[in-house]
């Protein structure tokens, strides 16, 4: 009887389940089908991997975060402009120089617009660049080590916002100033801004063999705000386009005073022409002071060099190089379609998008159809360069990306939506809400000649009710839409870190096969490396003590050190002797005034420790490395300053 009852209940349960399923699909056929397919579309099963990498800027975190698409899973945070105690970046002796600037050590920035290197206008996956907005800097990050390899400061710039966008063969990474300032900086009344301040647009070359950055020249433009930029591509390769606002040159209450003109400009810069001018000795060398910081993968060490000169170019001295394209209502995003034919100005205070035609622009320049000039720079006639207007009905257009089928996708901040429209016909095909107040959007390769138009990620400024509340501060939300069909489909919501502005993405197969797994110990050229545990030692040089220490699962060599004195400067140089993927060791010591170190296999990192108290002080490994991780520890004996205890070190004695 009992058994029988169980069967009945089981049968009943199964039939209920079945009925439940049937009801759902039956009741709301479209919704039910959609939601189940949305789940399938973003589901990356345990052990499987994503199809795309997405690199989201961290905004005020100063860093870059790496996500997978379509899963929205976060893989890593790459420290760029901010100290990062998780790895010791900006705390270790090797990485402190990376954050050096002409203002001294600046341990933070506001990171905005990542861009992946390109060859022939297609993503090549060598490096990713990102700008520091606050203390103007450009960083280059290796896409094999996922580490920041280089940071160059940008002089004469302030609010480095129309950055860091690269030309189609990564000839230059371009950095434009948002805030115009006196150039050179000087003591002058703020209200004499108009006509006196300048906006510097910097062209930083990228060496093809190793990515080394060099500030080649700066175009000193009129004192507008240079908001965003993108390179020409294909037929427009050789040109760069910058949106401007505050062509009023207001210096106060900008919210009102910078929005007076009916039209601002898109500045079109023929950089090939300026490059040629500079190569022939053009331009003016100007004293400057800016930091150039380079991290070497083999010495595992960063060095900072101060540069003392910059070449500036007065655009009026290079005829035919710079033109203004009138563009309505304080345009924000400046985006160029995959063919290079259309330049889209996203007039943020307008309802419409303005699309300029590259061919028409060239024709107007050749026909010298100018509508006056601004500070000697010719202004083209709006009607002569206009390709079309997208009348979407949305409000506050900010940014546009593209797929490979001649469609464009524009975010509207005020009306919180993504609008899909057709290039050439300007007709609106679809619109979908975002949650909420969307800023940038990103399609992998969406600002190159070859977009991968499967997903678009919309990055929002406001989260509100999308997740469980976590107090007044919440991470920004992002949404993934499937754009493989005619209509966009919202398939996933995920939280981000910091405030993502722009992002860049690429197919996983471009990066995953060449991602570095370990650093070869035999290639370690660090000045203080301990290549063999037999070389582990402690050396004193006055009050400086250098500890050459090696690690392997699960001990430090040496792990007992005596003869350290109060007032010493103790450098722990830790070399990780592991040569296996994903086996870092950590290092921390009580009272350390910096952060821990996380040392990758084959790498050397250094932490400075200044013992203040007599005693026997422990250090330990912070990364759970093996079954004997808890045993991975050691002691340093610290004696009074006047003690005569000899230096000694040992392991297992």
């Amino acid at each position: 009887m009992k058994k029988y009852k169980h069967y009945v209940f089981a049968l009943l349960g199964v039939s209920l389940l079945l009925a439940g399923c049937g009801n759902q699909t039956g009741k709301s056929s479209s919704n039910g089908a959609l939601s189940s397919s949305a789940a399938e579309k973003v589901y990356v099963a345990p052990g499987e991997q994503d199809e795309y990498y997405a690199f989201l800027s961290g905004g005020y975190s100063g860093n870059l975060t790496v996500y997978g698409l379509p899963s929205g899973r976060m893989f890593k945070e790459i420290p760029v402009f901010s100290q990062f105690p998780t790895s010791g970046y900006g705390y270790s002796e090797e990485t402190k120089p990376m954050l050096n600037t002409s203002f001294g050590f600046v341990p933070w920035d506001d990171a905005h617009h990542p861009d992946i290197s390109q060859t022939n206008g297609e993503l090549d996956g060598r490096w990713i660049f990102i700008n520091g907005n606050n203390t103007p800097r450009i960083a280059r990050i290796s896409l094999s080590t996922f580490e920041t390899e280089e940071i160059i400061e940008v002089p004469n710039s302030a609010g480095n916002h129309s950055s860091s966008f690269i030309t189609e063969n990564t000839e230059y990474v371009v950095a434009g100033t948002r805030f115009s300032v006196p150039v050179p900086q000087r003591d002058m009344p703020i209200n004499e801004y108009k006509g006196n301040f300048k906006g510097a647009l910097s062209f930083i070359s990228v060496a093809p063999e190793n990515g080394r950055l060099n500030l080649e020249f700066q175009v000193l433009m009129p004192g507008f705000n240079y908001d965003l930029s993108h390179p020409g591509r294909g037929k427009s390769h050789g040109w760069f386009f910058f949106t401007t606002y505050n062509t009023e040159e207001a210096n106060s209450l900008m919210e009102v005073n910078s929005s007076q003109n009916d039209k601002d400009f898109i500045a079109a810069i023929n950089w090939k022409k300026i490059e040629e001018y500079v190569k022939n000795g053009g331009g003016t060398k100007m004293p400057a002071n800016y930091a150039h910081n380079v991290y070497d993968e083999h010495t595992h060490t960063g060095t900072s060099t101060m540069k003392k000169e910059v070449l500036t170019v007065d655009p009026t001295e290079v005829p035919g190089a710079v033109f203004f394209l009138p563009t309505p209502k304080s345009p924000h995003g400046c985006d160029v379609d995959p063919t290079g034919q259309y330049i889209i100005g996203n007039g943020k205070l307008s309802a419409d998008l303005t699309v300029h035609s590259f061919d028409k622009m060239i024709a107007a320049i050749e026909g010298e159809k100018f509508d006056g000039e601004a500070y000697g720079i010719p202004i083209l006639k709006f009607e002569d360069v206009l390709a079309g207007t997208v009348k979407s009905g949305g409000l506050g257009p900010l940014h546009t990306e593209f797929d490979a089928n001649g469609n464009a996708y524009t975010t509207f901040f005020i009306s919180s939506e993504v609008v899909k429209w057709k290039l050439g016909t300007w007709e609106v095909i679809d619109r979908k809400p975002t949650f909420y107040s969307v800023g940038h959007l990103m399609i992998p390769g969406g600002n190159s000649r070859k977009p991968f138009g499967k997903y678009v990620v919309a990055m929002n400024k406001i989260t509100k009710d999308r997740y469980l509340p976590t107090g007044p501060e919440m991470e920004h939300s992002a949404q993934i839409y499937d754009i493989s069909g005619e209509k966009m489909e919202l398939i996933y919501d995920f939280p981000t870190h910091g405030e993502p502005h722009y992002a860049a993405g690429c197919p996983a197969e471009l990066l995953a096969p060449k991602s570095k797994k370990i650093y070869r110990l035999s290639e370690n050229k660090h000045e203080f490396a301990t290549i063999s545990p037999n070389d582990a030692r402690v050396e004193r040089n006055g009050k400086e003590v250098h500890i050459y220490m090696s690690t392997i699962r699960s001990h430090f060599t040496p792990d007992n050190i005596e003869g350290i004195k109060v007032g010493d400067k103790v450098y722990f140089h830790i070399t990780n002797h592991e040569q296996d993927f994903d086996v870092p060791h950590g290092f921390s010591i009580i009272g350390q005034n910096t952060s821990e170190l996380l040392v990758m296999p084959g790498q050397t990192k250094t932490s400075i420790w200044e013992p203040k108290k007599v005693g026997v002080w422990p250090f330990y490994c912070t990364d759970f490395c093996s079954a004997l991780h808890q045993e991975m520890q050691g002691y340093v004996r610290v004696s009074p300053a006047n003690s005569n205890i000899e230096l000694s070190w040992s392991l297992g004695e």
């Binding site: 063999s532 037999n534 592991e578 093996s626």
Partner: protein
């Protein structure tokens, strides 16, 4: 109850000794600990009731991995051996010392206990070996659960280390 009292008395005395330890000369008071540590290693292998893995002779076992068969030249290739010695010094000495048992066993005499194939397989993929080879598994237990690190060496580098082991 009795046990409790004894235990707390013990704890108390340890505490007292611990306090005394601050004065350097009384650190010898910790000899209790030392006795404990000498007792333990005797117990562990005994539980298995057979020869400890480190002393076992398994010359017929080739282990698990990519090395299936190695023929050693009767003459030791001294050039290869010195290459192997250099690799050994960089990659292995953190755990393996010639003159003593350390984190792992000394390589001295290993050629009399293990086959060349077993040695190379152990160096090339210690994780696979400790999962699938009986002797490697027992060694892991005998050596306190300290898993041998994969040093990502090539077959050629591993072969050179083997040649170096022949000289020991």
């Amino acid at each position: 109850m009795k046990i409790n009292i004894v235990l707390s008395a013990l704890m108390f005395s340890v505490l007292l000794v611990g306090c005394g330890g601050k004065e350097e000369k009384k650190t010898d008071g910790f000899s209790v600990d030392r006795k404990k540590s000498t007792e333990k290693p005797v117990e562990t292998p005994a539980a298995d009731n057979e020869v400890p893995a480190s002393q076992r002779i398994t010359l017929d076992e080739k282990g698990v991995g990519q090395i299936k068969s190695i023929t050693l030249d009767p003459e030791i290739d001294m050039e290869m051996a010195s290459t192997g010695e250099a690799i050994y010094n960089t990659n292995c000495t953190a755990c393996h010392k010639l003159d003593k048992r350390f984190i792992g066993p000394s390589p001295r005499g290993i050629m009399e206990r293990r086959s060349p194939e077993w040695i190379m397989n152990m160096i090339l993929d210690p994780k696979l070996m400790t999962e699938q080879d009986r002797c490697a598994k027992d060694l892991l237990i005998e050596f306190n659960g300290a898993a041998m690190a994969n040093q990502n060496l090539t077959v050629e580098e591993t072969r050179a280390i083997l040649e170096y082991f022949r000289t020991l």
